[in-house]
C-alpha cells in the first residue's frame, strides 16, 4: 500500500495536468470559403475583391482558383495575406467572349484556419467586375462556407 501511494499520486497529477491542458487549448479547425460572382447574363473577364474576417479568429492558409477554365489558375494575391485575416484577390482573362463564364461563377476559394468556437463572419467587397473590353458589369458577390 505504501508503494502504491506514490504511484497513485503521480498518476493523479498527470491526469490533472492533461485535463488542464485540454481545457486551455482553443479549438482549431479549417474551412473553405467559396467566392462566387453573380453576373447575370454578362460574361465576366476581370474581377478584384477584398475579403476580411469581421468576426472570429481567422487565418488565411491558402487560395485556389475557380471552376471556369479561364479562372482555374490561382488569382493574384499579396503573399502577406497568408497567415493574415485579409486578402485582396484579382484575376483577368483575355480569352474570347465565348470562353468567358456568366451567371453564378465560382472565381476562387479561400482556405482558412479558424481558431476558437466563434463562427467567423466576413466583410467582402467586389471592387472590380468587368467584361471582355474592360467595361464594368453589374455583379454581386456571394460567399459560401463549409462546402469542403
Amino acid at each position: 500500500m505504501r508503494k502504491l501511494s506514490p504511484i497513485v499520486i503521480v498518476a493523479a497529477l498527470l491526469v490533472t495536468a492533461v485535463c488542464a491542458q485540454d481545457d486551455a487549448a482553443p479549438t482549431v479547425r479549417f474551412d473553405a470559403v467559396d467566392v462566387f460572382v453573380l453576373t447575370g447574363d454578362e460574361p465576366i473577364a476581370a474581377y478584384q475583391l477584398d475579403i476580411k474576417a469581421a468576426k472570429g479568429i481567422v487565418t488565411i492558409v491558402g487560395i485556389e482558383g475557380g471552376d471556369a477554365d479561364v479562372f482555374a489558375a490561382p488569382p493574384f494575391y499579396d503573399p502577406l495575406a497568408i497567415q493574415n485575416d485579409r486578402v485582396i484577390i484579382a484575376y483577368f482573362s483575355t480569352a474570347n467572349v465565348d470562353a468567358l463564364p456568366s451567371g453564378k461563377v465560382r472565381i476562387a476559394t479561400i482556405h482558412v484556419q479558424i481558431t476558437g468556437d466563434v463562427v467567423p463572419e466576413y466583410d467582402a467587397k467586389l471592387t472590380v467586375a468587368a467584361t471582355v473590353d474592360g467595361k464594368p458589369i453589374d455583379a454581386e458577390l456571394l460567399l459560401e462556407t463549409g462546402t469542403k
Binding site: A45, A46, Y47, Q48, P75, F76, Y77, D78, L80, A81, N84, D85, R86, V87, I88, I89, A90, Y91, F92, T94, T127, V128, A130, G134
Partner: protein, 163 residues
Amino acid sequence: MEEMPLNDLEPKGEKLQQLHKDLSAATRAGITIPQELNDAILKRAQEAFDPNPSKQLRLGKPAAWIAVAASLTLIIWISDVIRSAITTSQQATTAAIMPGDIDRNGKVDILDAFKLARVLDNTAASSPPTTTHINDFNTDGTVDSLDVNAIAMQAVALPQGAS
C-alpha cells in the same frame, strides 16, 4: 424787269435769250480747266485738309516688306511659345500619372493589368508599345507580360499595416 413765271421754261426777253445762246455754245464746246489752275486748287485743298503734310508716315516698298517679315516672325514665335506651353502641360500631366495606371483613372487595379494585357495581345512583337514610366512598370526597358504581372501584384498589394 419782267418776272418769269415758274412754270414757264422758255426764255423771254432779248437778254435772256442771248444768255441762253451763250451758255448753250459753251456747253457744246466743253469746259476746260488750265493745268496750273487745277494744281493750285488741289494744293489749296491739301493744305486745307492736312496742314502738316511733313508729319505723315510714308512707307516705301522696302519698309513695307520689313513690316510684313516682322509680323510673320512674331506670329511664328507666338505659335512656337504656345506649342511649347501645350507640350509642357501634356508632359506634366503624363508625369503626374502614377506607374501602372494604364487607364489613367488615378488608381492601379486589375483593370490596368487587363488593359495592358489586351494591348500586348493586339500588338505585333515587331512593334511593341512605346515604353513610358506608366507601362514599363518593372523599369526593365521593355513592356511585356512581366509588366502585366507586376501591375496585377501592385493591384492586390495589401496596405502597409493592414491586418
